[in-house]
């Protein structure tokens, strides 16, 4: 029976190592038949903006754009913190496929259903 895992990411270009490893773990989870959600908040909301991830390629890992694309193609979901993206003036920017802007209630619903969570 599949479990539920939330990978919370709070970094983007300010810490590409953490942003990248978060998606590496998310891909491991979705590839292990787990219902997997990536929650992007604070600086990480920038990753949801189309084109942004193309500039992140941490040494020793696949490019972030590829990791994100693989995650979504495999059925992973991406929630983007609504007040975080609004605060950065990015609310009207086109988002990557699979990304959905949500507030706290949508995240809480996923976690309250028994999801484990790991943070980067």
């Amino acid at each position: 029976m599949p479990g539920k895992l939330c990978v919370s990411i709070t970094h983007a270009k300010n810490d590409p190592d953490k942003a990248t490893v978060g998606f590496v773990v998310a891909n491991a989870s979705v590839a292990s038949a787990q219902e997997t959600l990536v929650f992007l908040s604070t600086e990480a909301v920038r990753i949801a903006v189309k084109g942004y991830a193309e500039e992140i390629h941490e040494e020793g890992f696949a490019p972030l754009k590829e990791l994100v694309s693989n995650f979504v193609t495999a059925g992973g979901r991406i929630y983007v913190c609504s007040p975080c993206i609004k605060k950065r003036g990015l609310g009207d920017e086109p988002l990557i496929e699979g990304a959905t802007i949500v507030g706290g209630a949508k995240l809480v619903e996923f976690l309250a259903a028994g999801a484990a969570c790991i943070s980067y």
Binding site: C81, S82, P83, I85, K86, G91, T100, I101, V102, G103, G104, A105, K106, V108, E109, A112
Partner: protein, 77 residues
């Protein structure tokens, strides 16, 4: 265009979102009679996903959602 629903109260939350929106929404509904209907107006980008999720978790009924308008019937208890 759907027919307007009869409502008992209305609240324009403006651009309020996330935790503050659902917290204040909970307080509003708590003060209303069971089965009464609140028309919420919330323009936050997360509201189309948040309001249905919040209603599912709390047991209030989302009668209609036409962003930015949401018609919520207060639960019995």
């Amino acid at each position: 265009m759907n027919e307007p629903l009869p409502v008992d109260d209305a609240w324009d939350a403006g651009s309020m979102g996330c935790g503050e929106l659902v917290f204040r929404l909970a307080m509003r509904l708590r003060a209303m009679r069971p089965r009464s209907v609140l028309k919420l107006t919330a323009s936050d980008l997360g509201a189309p996903h948040d309001i249905p999720a919040w209603c599912r978790m709390t047991g209030h009924s989302l009668l209609r959602a036409e962003h930015p308008h949401y018609y919520i019937e207060r639960k019995d208890t």
